[in-house]
Symmetry: C2
Subunit: 280 residues, 2 copies
Amino acid sequence: MVPFIARNKGALAADAVLMSDTLMLRPGQPAISYATRGDLYLELEVLGPKHDLHSGNFGGAIHNPLQALCEIIAKLHDANGRIAIPGIYDRVRQSSRTEEAWMVEFGAPDALVVEGAGSRRGWGERGYSLYERLTVRPALTINGIAGGYHGPGRKGVIPARATAKLSFRLVPDQDPHEVDRLFREHTARLTPPTVRAKVRTVSGTKPALVNPEHPMIRAAVSACRKGFGTPPALLRSGGTIPVVNAFQRILSAPTVLMGFALPDDRLHAPNEKLHLPTFF
Amino acid sequence: MVPFIARNKGALAADAVLMSDTLMLRPGQPAISYATRGDLYLELEVLGPKHDLHSGNFGGAIHNPLQALCEIIAKLHDANGRIAIPGIYDRVRQSSRTEEAWMVEFGAPDALVVEGAGSRRGWGERGYSLYERLTVRPALTINGIAGGYHGPGRKGVIPARATAKLSFRLVPDQDPHEVDRLFREHTARLTPPTVRAKVRTVSGTKPALVNPEHPMIRAAVSACRKGFGTPPALLRSGGTIPVVNAFQRILSAPTVLMGFALPDDRLHAPNEKLHLPTFF
């Protein structure tokens, strides 16, 4: 999409972009988001023996790539829920006083985040609310792991390789290229000499921030008040919308993020839903 | 098979059982194995949120079951390659002097194990040769992990659950029921309050040991010498043959393990082979 926007810059010229791909915190309470997190999606592959081995004949004497992968992943967070990659927080911007006040006024309380997740309790970086962890703080998520046997019953195998998909959510002023480099350097340090590790970059997006005092945001706030009878919450989104950055960079157009999803909509998950009263 | 043996005890009465399911160390050098490791095959499932979550909306604020699974697995071995489960080594029998001498005389040198594995170097419990780690010492192998997304490209998901298949190889006098209990107790201790863990037992087998001075083993030694022109190595097998125990227990018949597989045959793996000169 980015080359398309660049090629059609003239035809696409606009004062602002209106996009509906973000959250409200609850039905009846509109919201405008003024920030999205960036991301960096990676694959980490750990390679061991040339081929799969029988765990009876080799179990205990050859390092298992699946085990080595777990050992590397376990070291990517510390006991305080922080990402344990040196330098990863260096460019993370501290919230201003104004913003901190907004976070408290508009942000989702911890209980709402936990309930929306269908979880029993929160987790993550000590010293921040769950809403802050989701919006103004970076996150590292293991999105998938595959390796060895996972059919029914049993197979005594030491797999030759194991792969994890993992992704960072980035906040201003983190840069996906720099985080990529920090991750690769740290993974190399964590990889024991008994296995090899390969990192592949799938995609990367910078975080985006729209000035909430922009006239178009102000107009959107009025529109929300008119439509819902109540002023919108000013939120930051924990998700990533890569094109927001492209609109800003190529068209110099801010994006007004006026979305209507609810925290329990199960985005990207089985049984995703849309709340019909909000839709109408 | 065990109930069948019990029901047909009379018809199956025998002085000894001859079985061909074990290794030689190299072509031309026959081998008789007098011990097999037992095993215990388990599934460990870590459960987090009720359903999969979007890692943008929840990444950093909800503990990811895949990450928690890795964190638990990483704690199952210590930095010396030992299984870090309290009590797991309590019943492991120390080798006798005679046996230690055999291990050195007949056992696979480290280089042969590493070469057979197609690996770059060995791994495991410090203070033991690779052959000892494979035969007289227990092992814990992660046989498979499944969780989250592992198709092509990317999906920003925090999976609701993650599962590992793992198996112990056990040595005299370890008991699979006791190891099962120790594993469950330790897993419960390692599981943080942010997730739940379930353990399922798939199967368990006691280790087996045949007296190498038994007349039938002596007869097999003579037969090997006659057939190959060289006396057989007396080995312990790292693998598990559950029925050896049943023959011993129900029929009081020792099993002579006279096998012809080679270390690089890729047992249970893609491109498994049989060395034809040895076969003929």
